[in-house]
Structure formats: C-alpha cells, structure tokens
Amino acid sequence: MLSSFVAKRLVTRMCQAAWRPAIAGMGSSRGYRGDAPDDSRIDLIEIPLPPWPERTDEPIDIKRRRLLYESRKRGMLENCILLSIFAKQYLNTMTYSQLQQYDRLINEPSNDWDIYYWATEAYPTPEVYQGEVMDLLKEFTKNRNHEQRLDAPSLEYLEEESKKEMPSGQEMCTEFQKEMTSRLVYVRGIIMET
C-alpha cells in the first residue's frame, strides 16, 4: 500500500504559496569563481520549488535505508564521501527525531554545496537546520583524528551489523533464496509457455 506522500513525491507539482527557505550566507564565495561579481540569487526567489515533503509515517528502518541511499548518492564527490562516512558512523544509532533532522538537512537544501559549506563552517548554518545532527556533522567534518577519508565506505559494515542481529539469518537466507529461485524458475516457466 502506497501512502499519499509517495504519490505526491512521484508527480511533483507546483504548490502555490510556499517556497524553500532562502539559503543564508551571503558571505564571500568559497569555490573558484575567479573575479566574477557577486551572486544575486534571484532564481532562488523567483522560481520557488515545491516544498520538501516531510514523511511523518515512514517506519524507522525504512527511513534509515532511504537515508543511507540518499547519503551515498549526492551531487558532488565531497558530499558523497563526507555523508556516506558520516552515515556509516551515525545513521544506525540515530533516534527517530535525529533521523528526521538529518532527513531535512540532506534533502531540503537544493544546492549540495551549501550542505558542504555549513558542515565545514564556511558559511553559518541557517536556523532551520541547526540542531544535534548538524553539530555532529560539523564535529565529524573537522576530522580531529586526522583520518584519511579516501572514499565512500563499502556496504560491508551493514552486512556485519545484520549478522550480529540475526546469527542464523545467513542459513535462512540461503534456504529462502533456493526456494525463491526455484519458484521464479517455475513461474517463468509458466509465462514462457503462455
């Protein structure tokens, strides 16, 4: 059964009034812009995007799975690495309200660079995103232990965590898988005949 929020998500339409919160920080630019004049940001005001739909009745584990995908797949490499390592460290132990904060932080801003600038404290974080999770992210970004963050971690850690929860799960999986494969072959066989 698919809730209405999925429907809304699928076919995004322009909503009348609201627009995304204006992104704060008109300070000096961080990226390479050479000697180009300042950014007027008119497009963000005149072309408002539909408001970010907050999911209120999503089960917590589905939320975690979704946020994992959304942490690993970002607009630029810096965020991909930063957020996927952050997710590895914190996602599975976050409470529901922390997950909601994180969801808003990584999904509501339209420019991925902004998240990077707030995490590195190049620009001040807008009030709506300030909170426990943002503080965790800022602290994490500082890399006080001078770890080498070479790449997004592989997903093995999830597998190890799931093994700890369900020690006999592996056998179950194999049995289940065999059953599934044979059923699929059976079902496919029927289709091929028709």
Partner: protein
C-alpha cells in the same frame, strides 16, 4: 516450506520490505501488496505479464527523459513547453544531479567583454578536439551558444553582470580570438560560483510549471527495444521495489559520464555510465570511449579536485626524492604547463619508481612553503578539503595527488540533432525513437579533448536540440505502437539474479578490482603491452561478475542492489574503454600513447600536402571508434566511423582543415 515461513517471519520482522520478501506462493495466492494508480494523466495499468514476483506498472507518455541533470532537464523542459506529455526518470532528486558540481561557466560568443565571433569559438573547439570532433555538430553548438545563454537568462538564470548590465564573461583555457591569433578570449558566462546549481534550479522549476512528470529515485534498468526501435524504458522504483515500464514514442538518454570506472575520479558516486550501458545492452554502439580527460591534481584516493589555482599561487609537485620534477619535463612553464603534459609527467615519475606513499603510487603537491596567510586568504577551500579528505594540514604537510579522471568525451553516438545513430554498411543510420544528449552522448563536439566551460554549453544546446528535433518530427498525443507483454523481462530477471546473488566476491571487491585495473592500465600513461595486460585483466574482472555476492535481499531502498546494478553498468563501459584504447595506435588529445607518440591522420599535416599520398581509411586514425559488447561474454567488437569534416553551412562558416595542434 516451514523454513520459508520462518524465514519470511524473521525477514518481515526486520521489515526489509513491506512483505515483498514473502514469496507470493507462500501466502496462498493472495497478494500482500497492491499498486494504487497514483495521479497519472493516462491510466497506469498493473500488469502481471513479467512475473508475479515483480508486478509491473505500465505508463504511457509522449517522451521520456532518463536523467535529470543539465541536459535531461533542458530536454524535458523543452518538450513540456512544446506540449508533449513528458516523463523524467532519475535516480536522484534533480537538483542533486552531478551538474551541481560545475562551478565554471558556459562559453558563448556574446561579445560583451570584447569583440567576439562564434566562428572563433568554433575554431577553438575544433582545434581543442584535435580534429576528431564532428564539425557540423560543433558549428551547431557554437552558433547556437549565444541564443542558448540568452534563453537561459530569460528563463530566470541570474548570470553575473558587468557594471553596464551586460552578462559578465571571463577567460577560460583554450579560448582565443581571431582563430587563435588575437589573444585570450573572454567568453565564459557564469552565475558566481554556482552555475551548475543555478542551471538545474531554473530548469527544474520552470519544467514543473509545464506539468512534467518526475519519477524521482527510480533507477532506469534498460531500454525497451523492439526490432531496433526504442519504445521506452523499464525502471525500478527504489521507494517500494515496483517495476515501471514507461512507454514513449521518444526516449532521451542524459545520464552523464562514467568516471567511477577509475579508482581516482573527480565525479560523484553517481557517475556510473547507466545510459551508455543501457545502449550497449540494446546492441547499439558507443563512440570514442577511450578518450577520458585527466585533471593533474585530484586528491589521492578521494579524487576531489584541487584547483589549478594552487599551482598558480606557487604550489609545486614533488616526487619521493623531494625533487620538483616538473622542471625536467617543462623547463619553462614548470608546474604550470598544460594539463595533459603535467598529468603525463606525474605518471612517468610514478612508473619509474619515484612515487610516494606505501605503494609509491602518487606524488605530493607541496603548499607549506607558502606563507600561511596567503594560503588562508587565496586558497581557503584547499586547506579545508585537504584536512577533510586527506587528513593533511597544508601548512605542515604536502597533499597526496594523482592525475584524476575528470570527464568522458566519448558516449552514445548522435548526429547534430541529438538522434542516436548506428553505423551499418558504411553509412550512419538513425535509431528510431532514441536520442541522447549531455556527457552521455558524443555528438561529437569534444572529439579527443574537451575545452573548459564547453561542457555546460554542450548540455544546454543538445538538450534543446533533442527537444526541437522531437517537436519537428512528432506531435503530442501520438498513438504508441504496441509493446510485447513480456518486454523488459530480461531486465527484471537480471535484477532478481543480482538481488539473490550468493557467490564469493563482494560487490565492493569486484568494483575495486575494476577500478585498480583501469587506473593502472588505462590511465594517462598508455603503452601497448600495459594496455593488453589491462584488457586481459579487465576480461577476468568482467567474468568475475558471475561470482558476485550481495547481502541485502530486500527490495525497498536496497542500496546494495543499486550499487551492484551500477557496477554492471560500469563494467560494460570499462571493457569498451580499455579495448578501444588498446586498439588505437596513435596519440590524439587525451589519448596519449608512449609507443605511438604522434597523431596519425590521412595526411601528415606537419608537412605541405602536395605530393603526399592520402592514406586509406584503414591506415589512419582520424576516425571515431564504435564499440559493441556482448553482455554475456564481455567481448568487445570495434568498428570505425569517419569524422564529419564539413560544417552545416560552408558559406557561413568554413570548416577548419586539420593542422598540427600547438598552443
């Protein structure tokens, strides 16, 4: 049976998926899930034809765009504006596409900073491509550039302005005036440092006003081909694991590049060549995949770009002996030599054993000899990035760097109108119903080497070109030809196979093997023997996919499954790249071979042409590579296609005959 029920209870307790894990048969014929038909304009039908395990939802549109980056959004917007019922399938939220990383700008000969002419831009691009670019497509792109930029501005993109109120344009590498004789040109239009983001935001926002349907966080699996005609795409909805067949008269592929085949690339983890792989699986060719652009300084491992501005401020490259090795390779320019010269020098140092680190596989970029205030004020971003991704304090230690994959010049071959072509019996033949634009396509405007700030231009012009071509050839509301009920079955079978794969090699291991092979054998430094070894190793990695092991058996938000699908796509791109590179026995643009250092054209352009015998098509290399792969065996077949040398209108803009490329 009891084991299965126990398993299903355990799995459903973990809520891996809302009852998807329960096989249909175990629940006595009743279905635990059902698909509601949600707010579509045409009715979406649930069909059981492929498998009861994966119910399929069918949709009908006039056009479907795969990918919502700069090119995809421009195409979707163009089509919606023209009244076509358009769908856009994307695995990411549109403003999170990789285009957002672009901070440079868009080249256009507007002539705001000095007198300019698009024909000079045309000349620069043809020369930049090392005469492998199709001049009709380059003519189209450079001529349309000013109109495209003005159009974007009218849509609401706030380009940076000069004091007079005209669009501000700045200098960028490779752009000159008066056919290379008039000095540096200033043609790059930008929106401060967020040109990419602004482009996405503007196009996405505008397209919604025209009622474009976005399928966000849907992973496109394959094209629906019927007898050589493209009839749509089949995609996996990550939200609930349902399969969607989106049928359309016109399909546009704008999925971006495939930087992730290499160990070190500046691209996000989303650049996995999904579109080029889909086209390969459909039996169609990909063009010029061996041309991969390398940027000299990307952070080792992470691959994040360290701007050339560092070296401009005084940063130097150091090898294991502490030597400033660029003095040997480029005595005058030293560390500021052109990108491909620096990349090649770094690679030679590493290959000769003077690399740094435990595996001696990178070099150092030293900045700590510069005053700390200078670092803080002029290169603030670098200090941050180095600390975050390399754990290095730039005021004390050097940054580990490596030539890093930055852009893919090759892709799906198209004509200048954006239609995908195949080459049979020596002629180009349009594939009906299929279009491509952006980095995923090869029109080919970049040829063997891309100039900076031409990529965003490419996205916008060819995204618009696809929309215009479709508007010319079709009408909204055209009846769709029938589709076989079992179309897309193989994609679902593949999905299922991957979901339950239980071999011995993890996805991450196979991916690392592929990336290391490509990095070691098909990087900047390419020699016959190294490439051949790489082709064999790549073949082994491809075969090892049979042995893949995934651990997440769910279907809802299954990141492991998506990453495995992406790995399949990456492998198809990788085998074509390395095989095409091995076959091309010359050096041209970004493809530099140590054993064949020169360009091999039909004439030797370094000498006068009279008295020279023209080489036959088989004897020279000024031609496009077309590569096909048999997905089951991983075997690559190569064909060649001539470069288009004439512009669209010789009176208006004469083509540029090949010459020796020197700057």
């Amino acid at each position: 049976m009891a084991t299965v029920r126990a398993a299903s209870r355990l799995l459903s307790k973990r809520v891996l998926s809302r009852a998807k894990a329960v096989p249909a048969a175990a629940v006595q014929g009743s279905r635990n899930f059902h698909f509601s038909i949600y707010g579509k304009k045409k009715s979406a039908k649930v069909s059981d034809d492929i498998s009861t395990q994966y119910p399929v939802v069918d949709h009908e549109f006039d056009a479907v765009v795969v990918g919502a980056g700069g090119a995809g959004l421009r195409a979707a917007f163009g089509l919606s504006e023209a009244g076509f019922n358009t769908a856009c399938v994307t695995k990411l939220f549109p403003t999170r596409s990789h285009t957002v990383a672009a901070q440079g700008g868009i080249n256009a000969a507007l002539g705001n900073m000095e007198e300019d002419d698009w024909r000079w831009h045309f000349y620069d691009t043809v020369k930049g491509s090392d005469w492998l670019g199709d001049q009709d497509a380059i003519h189209y792109m450079t001529e349309q550039a000013p109109a495209a930029v003005v159009e974007l501005e009218n849509f609401g993109m706030p380009f940076s302005r000069t004091e007079d109120g005209k669009i501000y344009q700045r200098a960028f590498g490779g752009q000159s005036l008066k056919y290379g004789k008039g000095g540096q040109a200033h043609r790059c239009c930008c929106v401060a440092d967020r040109t990419g983001h602004s482009l996405l935001h503007t196009l996405y926002g505008r397209s919604l006003r025209y009622d474009t349907s976005y399928f966000v966080e849907y992973f496109a699996l394959d094209l629906l081909m019927d007898d050589g005609v493209c009839k749509g795409v089949i995609a996996l909805c990550m939200e609930d694991g349902s399969i969607h067949r989106i049928r359309a008269q016109n399909t546009i592929i704008a999925t971006g590049g495939y930087g992730r085949t290499y160990f070190s690339c500046t691209s996000a983890h989303t650049s996995t060549g999904d579109g080029t792989a889909m086209v390969t699986r459909a039996g169609l060719p990909c063009q010029d995949l061996e041309f991969v652009q390398f940027h000299p300084t990307g952070i080792y491992g992470a691959g994040c770009l360290i701007t050339e501005g560092c070296r401009g401020e005084g940063g130097i490259l150091i090898n294991s002996e502490g030597e400033r090795f660029m003095e040997r390779y480029a005595p005058n320019a030293k560390d500021l030599a052109s990108r491909d010269v620096v990349s090649r020098s770094m690679t030679i140092e590493i290959r000769e054993g003077r690399g740094v680190g435990p595996e001696k596989d990178h070099v150092h970029l030293q900045l700590h000899h510069l005053p700390p205030q200078q670092l803080a004020s002029r290169l603030p971003g670098i200090s941050e990035t180095a600390m975050i991704f390399a754990g290095v304090d730039v005021t004390k230690e050097p940054i580990p760097v490596l030539p890093t994959v930055h852009y893919n010049m090759g892709g799906i071959p198209t004509n200048y109108k954006g239609q995908v072509i195949d080459h049979t019996n020596g002629k180009d033949k349009v594939v009906p119903g299929l279009y491509a634009c952006g980095e995923a396509a090869s029109a080919s405007v970049h040829g063997a080497n891309r100039l900076g700030a031409n990529s965003l231009l490419d996205l916008v012009v060819f995204g618009r070109a696809c929309a215009l071509t479709i508007t010319d050839l079709h009408k909204p509301g055209e009846k769709l030809t029938p589709l076989k009920p079992s179309a897309g079955e193989e994609s679902v079978a593949n999905l299922d196979k991957l979901r339950f794969a239980n071999g011995s090699l993890r996805t991450s291991e196979i991916r690392l093997n592929m990336q290391k092979t490509m990095q070691n054998h098909a990087a900047v430094f390419r020699t016959g023997s190294v490439l051949k070894e790489g082709c064999d190793k790549m073949d082994d990695v491809y075969q090892s996919m049979e042995n893949i092991k995934t651990f997440d058996r769910g279907i809802v938000w299954n990141t492991d499954l998506v990453e495995s699908l992406e790995l399949q796509n990456l492998l198809l791109n990788a085998v074509q790249t390395i095989n095409a590179a091995e076959q091309r026995k010359e050096s041209r643009g970004a493809h530099a071979r140590e054993d064949f250092k020169d360009r091999v054209d039909e004439y030797d352009y370094s000498k006068p042409l009279e008295g020279q015998q023209k080489k036959t098509f088989d004897q020279h290399w000024r031609k496009h590579t077309l590569s096909y792969v048999d997905p089951k065996t991983g075997k690559v077949a190569l064909k060649y296609r001539p470069v288009i040398d004439s512009s669209l209108n010789e009176q208006d803009c004469a083509h540029v005959p090949p010459a020796i490329r020197s700057y």
